[in-house]
């Protein structure tokens, strides 16, 4: 291969500076992918980098062709074996990253280096398929700068190796592109995708369809965001913030599960009584389709519907931050119309052979009280006055007769324990009841005023069917730990439980005020990012464009893009111009400059090294100006410009201007002859 040998001439080689930057860029670009792809891919990337470094040091050689072929095949097999679906996003990205890493091993000349640079930009874009948070966006902005710097480095002199200068230049270039990026982001039509990319799957933390009593207690370990809520008006009282997510109707072997068959049509619309609370929810991806809302929710966003148990469902699973609007009517009543026979059967079903003790206990209590209200009241009374405790670490219960064991023996539990016991007892006496899972409470961010609901706000409570009033919420946790409902989880926990909380959770819950206010601040930033950047979808774009342009026509969008594009580019141009602006000019120099420009128009060009005096003398002689006058002007120029001992004011300046203008006329006259 003679040609490949000769391509090693200095012209095609990758400058050392750029090679180092390229390697750094590659690490920077690969790093975030390490969080969600198999570690072996990262290892391959690092190994290729190591190999290339050895090649640079002259210790190793570039791989032979058959080794390269082997590596490619091995990578493909590795991706196929690594578990995820062959046509999944993970597999495609893995393949891309492997190819990107292997490209290092045949990066010999400039052309290859450019391929690596462009691949780096592409890899940066793919990261946003996995994560669109502000932190990632900021990181990838930095990565752009590094990649651009590598490209800048490739165009530098071999002898002038200045990585910092390349980085600074690259940062400037990327910063200049920002205004135009914003304009395109706002105005470029959001076309529906021609094909869909299978989005990343995988587990997320949150409420699930199956719930055993310990599940929610485990969720309190997580401070992960569940969703953010922006209320149109003021936020309702804390103890009213019951975010309903799923309704659990089936109980089996100590596990509650949400109903599989959904009664799609809701029987009986709630009478839209009382004031509505309107709000929008920005939900974090859950990969599931249920949404969260306050009770008696009426969805206002297309694609969100309400099912029979008054919970909300989205058409598709929530794969990225999802924004929906809801109006809730807390005062709505069902007037007994909301129950069908099938629903009643489901809401009273319970395993007859499970928990015999509590069945007998409930029967006995039912005999005494006689109606649902009294029954529930005396049960809550029992919980609050008896030796019941609210704890994150309840003793482990057997899968059979678990409610018996909890109610009579251990008497310590979390919200699910109490709610489960209550529902079971209600059903065993024939009263329709169900368990609801979701979140309760949330924190109001003091900066932006939105409500943040995190996983540790997860909660479960009970709904009881009341003839004439419909489903009514009963929360046994309020009886055992009122603080949990009134001010959140940290108030309800014992010191022992608190020690169990993860550090971040503890920090958010305000053990250290400085940290929690910092966290509040970053939370408000994230929220704005979600609201304005991630949540800026086709709908919000249409709204904004209508506000801005009135009628949306292609011509108007085109003109707006043209206008704002030009505006943004001129902002960058102005910034450049401002940086290169001459320092504040001396008035005499300014006067001389305008004379010089005028003289140049008549063919009397000043050499840059000619001082004003020399220039005036030269052109004065050429134009045959009276020598005495000329000397006077020269002396004056010298005095005003270079002799600080001479005091002068506007009068002298004016006189000098007049003299210069006179000389200019002489020059103009001389040039016509």
């Amino acid at each position: 291969m003679v040609s490949s040998e000769s391509s090693h001439s200095a012209l095609h080689q990758i400058p050392r500076n750029s090679l180092a930057l390229l390697m750094i860029a590659q690490v920077v670009v690969l790093m975030p992918h390490a969080l969600h792809l198999s570690p072996w891919i990262v290892a391959v990337g690092l190994f290729c980098g190591f190999w290339r470094t050895r090649v640079y040091q002259g210790q190793w050689d570039y791989p032979r062709n058959w080794i390269k072929a082997l590596l490619v095949v091995a990578s493909a097999v590795g991706v196929a074996l690594s578990g995820s679906d062959v046509f999944s996003l993970e597999a495609a990205t893995s393949m891309l990253l492997l190819a990107f890493a292997l490209k290092l091993l045949e990066m010999k000349n400039r052309r290859d280096a450019y391929v690596v640079v462009f691949l780096s930009y592409f890899v940066i874009a793919t990261e946003f398929l996995f994560d669109q948070s502000m932190a990632v966006a900021a990181y990838e902005f930095g990565a752009m700068v590094v990649v651009t710097a590598a490209m800048v480095g490739m165009n530098q002199f071999h002898t002038r190796v200045r990585p910092v200068a390349s980085l600074r230049l690259a940062a400037g270039l990327v910063a200049q592109a920002l205004p135009l990026t914003v304009v395109l982001f706002v105005f470029f039509p959001r076309v529906a995708p021609l094909w869909t990319v299978p989005l990343p799957g995988g587990g997320t933390t949150g409420i699930s369809e199956q719930m055993t009593p310990g599940d929610i207690a485990n969720l309190t370990q997580s401070d992960q965001l569940a969703f953010r809520v922006v209320f149109d008006d003021e936020v309702p009282a804390y103890q009213e913030l019951y975010w309903r997510g799923l309704v659990y109707s089936d109980f089996h072997n100590g596990t509650w599960s949400a109903q599989k068959s959904r009664f799609v049509a809701s029987p009986g619309e709630p009478a839209a009584a009382g004031d509505a609370a309107s709000y929008q929810v920005l939900m974090e991806p859950t990969m599931r389709d249920w949404l969260y809302a306050l009770d008696r929710a009426v969805p206002e966003t297309p694609g969100v519907r309400r099912v029979a148990d008054y919970t909300l469902r989205s058409r598709d699973p929530v794969m990225s931050v999802f924004r929906y609007e809801v109006s809730s009517y807390p005062g709505a009543r069902l007037d007994g119309r909301g129950m069908t026979r099938a629903m009643e059967v489901q809401a009273t079903r319970y395993p007859v052979d499970d928990n015999p003790r509590i069945q007998a206990y409930a029967d006995e209590l039912w005999q005494r009280t006689g109606d649902i209200d009294g029954f529930v009241r005396s049960l809550l009374q029992q919980i609050s006055s008896g030796d019941y405790h609210y704890t994150l670490k309840p003793p482990i219960l057997p899968s059979e007769n678990s409610i018996d064991a909890f109610w009579f023996d251990t008497q310590r539990g979390f919200c699910t324990h109490y709610a489960g016991a209550l529902v079971f007892m209600l059903r065993s006496v024939g009263a329709p009841a169900r368990m609801v899972g979701g979140y309760q409470g949330g924190e109001i961010n003091p900066i932006t005023g939105h409500l943040v609901v995190r996983q540790y706000d997860a909660h479960a409570w009970v709904e009881v069917w009341d003839e004439g009033r419909g489903w009514r919420r009963v929360d046994p946790t309020q009886a055992v730990a009122p603080a949990r409902i009134e001010s959140g989880i940290e108030a309800a926990l014992s010191a022992e439980d608190r020690a169990e909380l993860a550090a971040m959770t503890a920090a958010r819950l305000g053990d250290w005020t400085l940290v929690s206010s910092l966290l509040n601040w970053s939370e408000s930033l994230e929220h704005r990012w979600n609201l304005w950047v991630i949540g800026f979808d086709a709908g919000s774009q249409r709204g904004l464009l209508e506000d801005l342009l009135g009628d949306i026509t292609p011509v108007r969008i085109g003109l707006a893009m043209l206008f704002f594009g030009a505006l943004s580019l001129s902002v960058a141009a102005l910034a450049l111009f401002w940086r290169r602006r001459p320092t504040r000019r001396h008035p005499v120099e300014r006067a001389f400059r305008s004379f010089g420009d005028a003289a140049a128009r008549h063919g009397y060009e000043r050499e840059v090294h000619e001082s004003p005096m020399v220039f005036v003398e030269r052109v004065g002689h050429q134009a045959r100006v009276n020598p005495a006058q000329l000397q006077l002007l020269i002396a004056q120029l010298e005095a005003l410009l270079y002799n600080p001992a001479v005091a002068w004011g506007s009068r002298e300046l004016k006189y000098l201007r007049t003299q210069l203008r006179r000389l200019h006329f002489r020059l103009a006259f001389a040039s016509t002859q």
């Binding site: 001459p582 090294h609 002799n643 001992a645």
Partner: protein
């Protein structure tokens, strides 16, 4: 007239002396370097010593050494040739770096320290060093850090044909040298040096000097830019030049006149890997930097 047809160089040498800087003359042998320095000393009525550098000159040969005095039974310091107001360090680049640095230390500190006793050198103290072009064999080129201590480096160059004819026609120039009478004394020289420091500089001129320095740092033609010390040297040389030309203030022509002498030995072209030269760079500064801001 001792040195014929070299008025410009004589003026530059005088400028250097007035600005209290040291002078480096780089030229081939026989161009009149020694003559120039000797004449300067004589005209100004200063004491004069000459040190001929060779590769075996030791630092003590320059600064002096302690000698045991039998009469008083103690060591007595014998001053070396450095103890004179004008010192001609001839062919400085033939000496080893050790001896070179002994001289250059003394130039910077204006004193000689031996056996823990510091002995001040006379004032004024003016070193004229000469060197052959370093490409000649048997030379040790001065490093940048030491070149920086010379305010100026000038070249004498071949004489003009007229001057050379005159030279050939006339007798031995050294005889003429003996006939030179001092035209100034020490007090007068000190007065002149002080006057040079008082020469005024306007803002537009400071900005011009700053633009020159900035240009040398930004332009891709230069391996590295002028240091702040270089900028100060440029300005003080321009002041002395202005004084010699009977002005109370500096004009751009003063800066331009001293510029090659002051900056050439402090600069190196980006494409110059051998690390020498810089004559074209001064021209680049002159033609690349606008006098008017």
């Amino acid at each position: 007239m001792v040195l014929l047809g070299k008025n410009e160089q004589i003026r530059l040498a005088l400028t250097c002396l007035v600005a209290r800087g040291h002078l480096l003359i780089e030229d081939l042998p026989g161009m009149g370097k020694t003559l120039l320095s000797h004449a300067l000393a004589k005209v100004l009525g200063l004491s004069y010593n000459r040190i001929q550098f060779t590769s075996d000159v030791l630092p003590a040969d320059i600064t002096g050494t302690a000698i045991f005095d039998r009469a008083s039974s103690e060591f007595r310091f014998m001053e070396g040739p450095l103890f004179a107001q004008v010192v001609l360090a001839d062919e400085i680049n033939r000496a080893t770096p050790k001896s070179q640095s002994a001289l250059l230390e003394a130039m910077e500190e204006r004193q000689v320290t031996m056996d823990g006793v510091s002995r001040p050198l006379p004032d004024p103290f003016f070193v004229i060093a000469t060197q052959n072009p370093t490409t000649q064999s048997g030379t040790f080129p001065l490093p940048e850090s030491q070149l920086d201590r010379f305010l100026m480096r000038i070249e004498l160059g071949y004489p003009e044909p007229d001057a050379e004819r005159e030279l050939l026609r006339g007798g031995d120039r050294r005889v003429v040298l003996d006939d030179l009478q001092p035209v100034a004394d020490l007090a007068r020289l000190t007065f002149i040096q002080e006057a040079a420091g008082a020469v005024q500089v306007s803002d537009p001129l400071i900005e011009y000097v700053q633009r020159i320095v900035e240009y040398s740092r930004q332009s891709a033609d230069f391996a590295f830019g002028l240091s702040p010390r270089g900028a100060l040297a440029l300005l003080s040389a321009a002041r002395a030049w202005a004084l010699i030309h009977d002005r109370s203030h500096v004009v751009p022509e003063d800066v331009q006149a001293v510029l090659p002498g002051v900056v050439e030995h402090r600069l190196r072209a980006a494409a110059d890997f051998a690390g020498h030269g810089g004559g074209a760079l001064a021209q680049k500064l002159l033609s690349g930097v606008d006098v008017v801001g």
